[in-house]
């Protein structure tokens, strides 16, 4: 893993940088655990969806939103362990080519929330190579924070789905998402303009 010339970044920092860039009510799907804790901590937005389980489904859920609302950019934040659970989704997304879908993979090589055990891929598999091999041609490692921001800017106007992977440290998430699934979904649907608040 250290053979890659990429800086080890911090999840909360890069998540905050991403949120700062969102000016058009882009949807953001946070994967389970620390990924959505940091999404919450970066500042709650009605267009954020927080997963409380179903590990590995951040990209498929985001794909569904992207197919339902092709004019809206849809981001998904996923951990490396979660992505390993649903690698087939990369091929599905590559086949459908939703240009408004932007996948961000936070790779620290560990199942951090369960006690920091290494994933079976740690130090062996290259997630961007897997994405490229799955047909997601617009996939790249972010070399550092500036490079990450540049890749996000590019993805915002890309005409194919984008995948950006980052190496991150083992710091725990900053906040803790409130755990009320119905409230989360309802607010998200308000945020997407599908529902009116009561």
């Amino acid at each position: 893993m250290n053979t890659r010339n990429t800086k080890v970044m911090n999840r909360f920092d890069v998540t905050s940088r991403l949120i700062t860039k969102l000016k058009h009510e882009e949807a953001v799907i946070g994967g389970i655990g620390n990924t959505n804790f940091d999404l919450w901590a970066a500042g709650h937005r009605p267009q954020n969806f927080y997963m409380l389980g179903s590990m590995g489904l951040a990209f498929p859920i985001a794909l569904g939103v992207a197919l339902a609302q092709p004019e809206r950019r849809v981001f998904a934040l996923e951990g490396d362990g979660s992505l390993l659970m649903q690698l087939g989704a990369l091929a599905t997304i590559a086949a459908l080519k939703p240009k408004n879908l932007i996948m961000i993979v936070m790779d620290n090589g560990i199942y951090q929330i369960t006690g920091a055990q290494p994933t079976p891929a740690a130090g062996v598999a290259d997630l961007v190579a897997i994405a490229l091999g799955s047909g997601l041609t617009n996939s790249a490692w972010a070399a550092d924070e500036e490079d990450f921001e540049r890749l996000v800017d590019e993805a915002m106007s890309a005409d194919e789905p984008s995948l950006i992977a980052l190496r991150i440290d083992d710091k725990p998430g900053v906040g803790a998402t409130r755990r009320d699934p119905v409230q989360i979904r309802e607010r998200f649907m308000h945020g997407l303009g599908v529902r009116e608040p009561l």
Binding site: A27, I29, F49, M51, L52, G53, S54, M55, G56, L57, F59, P60, I61, A62, L63, G64, V65, A66, L67, A68, Q69, R72, Q86, L87, G88, A89, A91, T92, A95, L96, P181, V182, I184, R185, F188, M189, L192, G193, V194
Partner: protein, 188 residues
């Protein structure tokens, strides 16, 4: 069983008549504005999948796993587009975690059509065992489900179940029994 034989031999797809089981399912989906259909295939579902692909009203595509398909239609629902997932019995068996942590607690009207394998002449031991886990899983989640055996009941059950799922924001499983579809027969 006349209906079963008729349906088995009508798997050619288009032109097989408007009252085939798969044509009724397709029309019922359309009438309820369900246009996004991810699936993991099953031999029995072949004519339905084929006709869905042909009809431009539908966005129909294969996923690598049933969980993915559930995630996709859940996201689509939240984004304002209705979908349904097609799978076979063994695919349903992979879904317990996704149902219990996404569709049920978030109150998402997940519509599932499950081609029932493992019963009424099944030849594959794995299918027959996994089939027996399906209804206990559905019941343990208090999840609405109907087994459809009769062509004359299909439209009523499917249409009403879809409307109930949407209005009560709850998942539903529609199990397509071999008595309806003809099932899969052992032909090497």
């Amino acid at each position: 069983m006349a209906i079963a034989e008729q349906q088995t031999s009508s798997q050619a797809g288009p032109g097989s008549g408007d009252r085939s089981w798969h044509s009724i399912v397709l029309q019922t989906l359309k009438r309820n504005e369900i246009s996004l259909i991810p699936y993991v295939p099953d031999r029995v579902l072949t004519p339905l999948i084929k006709n869905l692909h042909v009809d431009p009203f539908f966005t129909t595509f294969a996923t690598a796993r049933e969980e993915e398909a559930v995630g996709i239609v859940s996201g689509a629902w939240m984004g304002g587009r209705r979908g349904a997932v097609l799978m076979q019995t063994s695919g349903f068996a992979t879904l317990a975690n996704t149902l219990a942590s996404l569709a049920v607690p978030y109150q998402i009207p997940l519509i599932m059509f499950v081609s029932e394998r493992g019963t009424l002449g099944e030849f594959n031991y794995g299918q027959s065992l996994v089939c027996r886990t399906m209804r206990p899983v559905l019941d343990s989640l208090a999840l609405e489900h109907h087994t459809i055996t009769r062509l004359d009941e299909l439209e009523f059950i499917a249409d009403r179940s879809i409307k109930q799922a949407v209005t009560t924001q709850a998942p539903v499983a529609l199990i397509l029994n071999p008595l309806l579809t003809g099932g899969k027969v052992f032909d090497k």
